[in-house]
Amino acid sequence: MMILGTDPLLSGNVDLTVVLIVLMKVGIAFVFLLVAVMLMIWFERKLISDMQNRIGPSVAGPWGILQTLADGIKLFFKEDLIPERSDRFVFKLAPYLSLIPAFLVFAIVPIGGDFRNDNGGVVTWFGRETLVQVADPPIGVLFFLAMSSIAVYGVMLAGWSSGSKYPLLGAVRSSAQMISYEAALGLSIATVFLMSGTLSTNGIVSGQSTWNWNLVTTGVVPFIIFVIAGTAELNRPPFDLVEAEQELVGGFHTEYSALRFALFFLAEFMNVITMSAIAVTLFLGGPNGPILIEAIPWIWPPIWFFLKVGVFLFVFVWLRATLPRLRYDQLMDLGWKVLIPASLGWFLLIAALNIANDQGWQSWIVILVGLTAISVGALALMAAIRKAKMQRASQAFEEAN
């Protein structure tokens, strides 16, 4: 079966050791995610308190680090309410549709491994060669896109099945937002595919092993688009219209309480962590980094990986503390009229450069022609939008009189 991909562990005989190694990897990924979510919630609350001149959680454990655990236990023992007008089965199903994709995405992220000298991230555990990721499917990052499109169901069905108006409004908003930004997200990832020539996460990370991170080779623009679209995909501020308290109470999970609410909360923060991990894998070289102490070389890749992920987590919290929420029409304008055309244009430019490399054309001419074409297209688009706005305004004026 090719689905498990290029992991050398599974290409030979599958015996008990192999099964145990795979189980161990799954267990590590599972526990790691749960602990990371716990720390992330604490980190976010603590950091945002600092940014707002407050103290934040400080009672449970040292520096309040066990606050999330206490909250989790509280939610676990609370009464579980199901609204009378809800669709009971779908209402119970929805939190799991959010949570399971969040868990699964992390399976394709390489969190360590030896990528020096074209080694391809292979390490030896218990006498077996393997990759430091749960699975390396040939469709690689497409798996991430597939899972994030499944996660939309959790939000949408939760809102619909609650049988109440605010959750429904929140759900429609959020699914429209997630679908719109998924397009920009996919297009920005496509430039990475063009540069590395593979879909597999292991291949993408291997291609960045000599400091030639995709952040630079794809020309920064796709990275910026990825981060913006990713923030919107996560429903994080400034794109958190989904849970705009002033308008929608709690958004799609207004009617959820106790354990089911905790599952949504867990999924949300887990998505933040996996999105950061995917961004690091795609653009920042994954676990690649200098080996500082040669005596313990295996410990450095995970350290670099977690440091890079930590930077992203910090930025997400920073954005939340800094930026005000967008209006809904601004959100849709940014997605459809700025990010998607920009990522499409950049994609074409990178494709043209690739062909120029193959054919031996002058690359600066290609860049010049490409940028001119993109700016002409952008100007035409802006003119069209402006014209439409003027027309609508004059129409509204006529109607008013």
Binding site: M2, I3, D87, P138, L145, A146, L157, A171, E182, L199
Partner: protein
């Protein structure tokens, strides 16, 4: 192993398809459709067509059914429909006749065919052609059958332009769509129907 996966997936696909037909609530029917699409995605993986499996999930389960759900929720038809009404008279008997004749045709083909019902099996898998699945598919689509792909793209563009032309309301002398006087405000307008289908 392969047989077991095939049987389980077929069961999932078929039960989902039955569910789409039987479910009273349109939202439940859409969810059963997702179940069917997932089963098909796993069957694609079984055939080593991993890229198609991913596309199946991203495009069909992730976008198209979501749009179905959107329309169902926004139009407010998410309660059980009255199935007693027959919009076109003679629809039900006709369905039985056509459905059973198609089933009969398929069964006959299955029974009398020598080299399998779909002819000799071909494959775009990595084993048979060399190179990865995605590369082979890309080469086939954008090299061997480029003209057909471009034509399809043109068709889709025309469809989008048409949908926009139907959906916008023009003031002044240009009025492409006569505004229909609907008696019931609850009914979806004809423009909406055009978007959905």
């Amino acid at each position: 192993m392969e047989l077991a996966v095939f049987i389980i997936c077929s069961a999932i696909v078929l039960s989902g398809a039955l569910g789409v037909l039987i479910a009273n609530n349109p939202v439940h029917a859409a969810l059963f459709l997702v179940e069917t699409l997932f089963g098909i995605a796993v069957l694609f993986i079984l055939l080593d067509a991993t890229f198609l499996a991913a596309v199946q999930v991203v495009v069909y389960a992730g976008a198209i059914v979501i749009l179905f759900l959107f329309v169902i929720m926004l139009l407010g038809v998410d309660r059980a429909d009255d199935l007693g009404i027959e919009p076109i008279s003679g629809q039900r008997p006709l369905t039985i006749v056509i459905g059973s004749s198609i089933l009969g045709l398929m069964l006959t083909t299955l029974l009398i065919s020598v080299s399998g019902p779909t002819g000799t099996s071909t494959s775009v898998s990595e084993v048979s052609l060399g190179g990865t699945n995605t590369k082979n598919l890309g080469g086939t689509l954008f090299h061997d059958h480029l003209f057909a792909v471009e034509l399809t793209a043109l068709l889709l563009t025309v469809a989008i332009v048409g949908a926009i032309a139907l959906a916008r309301r023009l003031k002044g002398p240009l009025q492409p769509i006569p505004i229909l006087e609907t008696t019931n405000d609850e009914r979806p307008s004809p423009e909406d129907n055009g978007d959905v289908e």
